[in-house]
Amino acid sequence: MFELLGISPQALFGQLLIGLINGAFYAMLSLGLAVIFGLLNIINFCHGALYMMGAFVAYLALQHLGLGYWPSLIVAPVVVGAFGMMLERTMLRHLYKLDHIYGLLLTFGLALVIEGVFRNEFGASGLPYGIPPTLSGGQNLGFMFLPNYRAWVIVASLGVCLATWYVIERTKLGAYLRAATENPTLVQAFGINVPRMITLTYGLGVALAALAGVLAAPIYQVSPLMGSNLIIVVFAVVVIGGMGSILGSIVTGFTLGVVEGLTKVFYPEASSTVIFIIMAIVLLIRPTGLFGRAH
């Protein structure tokens, strides 16, 4: 049957694996978006720009401080997360009571500003960032050559996704967070500092984006445009998964990565469109997304 479609089973497995790897990035980015939307009600359009900042912090840390890849995995999310918290404190928190559209406009504007600043400073064609020596090379799996670094990306992304899901859905801290979004006044009455918690949550979402940026740096060019190339797809992933649904964004991220990968084999011209076709269909059939609940 596979041969009928013009592709051998070996090649198909290879493409499935590649799809999973790309899905890992979609999952990590859409996870951050889902956390921020679910708990803050902000459509964080500057997520792509913050992902790009994560990659740039890694690049600059290597160039100017001699910090390699592994420390950057910690440093970049912390730095960019702090930057995100500053954004939240100074700008975003004024918008919580307003319509979604205001948050969307503000963050979209921020994305353009951040990207513009980086493009002006570093140009558009990108900067090189090597694969860490411990992860260079790859394994021959028989049906494909799997670069070690890509394998690491899947593992790291799955780990981070599951940890985030666990913290928010299964721990006491997560319970506070969810309660705070449900009824902030009541939670505050119990003596919990809700505004600070919201700031930290936004910081966490942003840090996830920055972490994805560091993971992406050795694969893609560290370029001011890397975020905008990805963010629209990631938004589609969030919409398909159901706005604000954490598990939904993880599952959808990986699934759509695979779907996109398969499209690249059977009809590559459509590979940049297929996700939006699925989004349109899902919105028609289930307007709240696959995992979303109607409010």
């Binding site: 090649a11 790309n22 558009a124 090189p128 050559f145 890509r150 893609y220 590559p268 940049s272």
Partner: protein, 407 residues
């Protein structure tokens, strides 16, 4: 066609005669307005973009326009790689803003659209950034000159060199728009002509971040050569990821069909070393080029000039020379005819000619990217493998199917 030509010649003669008494009177509103239409925000920004504006300004300065009493103004805009945006800007420039000539326009899709608008409005279009050989082929226009390079020249230079050294089976990863298709078609033709075989091709959407899926298909094809019929960020990402997936270690070789200096800079020599490709110009080839680069780089964030920047400089210089002699910038066809009638000569491209189909003819070069230890200074990236003489570098004028060359 002969009749049309002689009418054109008459018109030109009349214009020159009229202008003789009133030196600048025929230059529309006394100002020669040059519009640099380029990519200011996306993947071609560094290889053209703001640098093309710098190059145009340097051409005007070096020409000494002010001292000669010519008023030249430069405007620029971002076409966002969208043909509709590009042609809308071109219309506005020609109709409302009195722009006389549009230069650069990287992205063949946009260039082909501007080509038609320029023909309709009878202005001048000097192409440096775009690659499609259709601009001097079946889409050729009496208002357009294609200056720096084209897909045929790239295919011919790189394709020929690679097939000669044994790379006779090819698989293409092609950018899915006018330019990529043309580059793939032109290269396939060269490969087949030389007795090689094309095993397959895959069309990747423009601005794809991840090429691994396409690279796996290339790997599975077992072709000796993976031809990258793309440009800018797409080329950079495909080369970088090809090294990650061990394409070259697995015995296949990459052929970057369109690689720019800025791409090599962005990849870094450890990844880019050994790549072979064809270009029209390199900054470190002679003293004139080095002097140009030294003056150019500080004005463009340290980016050293690419062949596109040099082409903008050279084309604008020749345009100003033609205007100086014709004393007329209102009739685009007449200006282009004048430009074709004069041999070209400037410090960057040296001596050359412009053919009836609008193709600027000059030498092309086959370069190889240096190994990291061969590079002695910043931006020291290429070594020259071969010079492709002007007579062989471009598609023969009778093979292009350009209506202008048929009488």
């Amino acid at each position: 066609m002969r009749g049309v030509k002689s009418v054109k010649a008459l018109g030109l003669a009349a214009a020159v005669a009229l202008a003789a008494g009133t030196a600048q009177a025929q230059v529309s509103d006394g100002v020669i307005k040059i519009g640099v239409l380029t990519d200011m925000s996306s993947l071609y920004t560094d290889l053209a973009g703001a640098g093309s504006v710098v190059a145009a300004k340097m051409a005007v300065e070096d020409f000494g326009a002010a001292a000669k009493g010519m008023k030249v103004e430069i405007v620029s805009a971002d076409h966002q790689n969208k043909p509709d945006v590009g042609s809308a800007i071109a219309r506005q420039w020609y109709d409302a803003d009195k722009v006389d000539v549009i230069v650069d326009v990287p992205n063949s899709g946009v260039a082909l659209a501007v080509n038609e608008v320029t023909r309709e409005k009878n202005k001048v279009f000097l192409v440096s950034g775009a690659a499609s050989s259709a601009l001097t082929g079946d889409k050729c226009s009496p208002n357009t000159i294609h200056w720096t390079y084209d897909t045929w020249a790239l295919a011919n230079g790189t394709g020929r060199a690679i097939v000669k050294t044994g790379g006779d089976t090819w698989f293409f990863i092609t950018a899915d728009y006018a330019f990529g298709h043309q580059l793939e078609a032109d290269t396939s033709a060269v490969v087949k002509e030389m007795g090689g075989k094309v095993l397959g091709a895959v069309r990747a959407p423009l601005n794809t971040p991840d090429f691994s899926s396409f690279l796996l298909q290339a790997q599975a094809s077992k072709a000796k050569i993976v031809g990258l019929a793309n440009a800018g960020g797409d080329t950079v990402n495909s080369i970088k990821q090809a090294s990650e997936f061990g394409i070259v270690k697995g015995g296949q070789n990459l052929a970057g069909l369109l690689v720019f200096l800025t791409d090599v800079h962005s990849l870094g020599l450890p990844v880019a070393q050994g790549l072979i490709f064809t270009e029209a110009w390199y900054w470190d080839m002679n003293d004139a080029n080095r002097a140009f680069a030294a003056k150019f780089a500080p004005q463009d964030k340290g980016i050293h000039p690419t062949m596109i920047h040099a082409g903008v400089y050279s084309a604008v210089t020749h345009y100003l020379k033609a205007i100086e002699q014709a004393k007329n910038d209102t009739d685009g066809k007449a200006v282009v005819a004048k430009m074709k009638s004069m041999p070209t000569d400037d410090k960057l491209f040296g001596k050359g000619t412009i053919r009836a189909d609008g193709r600027h003819i000059h030498d092309m070069y086959l370069f190889e990217v240096k190994k990291p230890d061969e590079s002695k200074k910043p931006w020291d990236y290429y070594k020259l493998r071969a010079t492709i003489p002007a007579a062989e570098a471009f598609r023969p004028v009778d093979k292009g199917n350009c209506p202008l060359t048929k009488s």
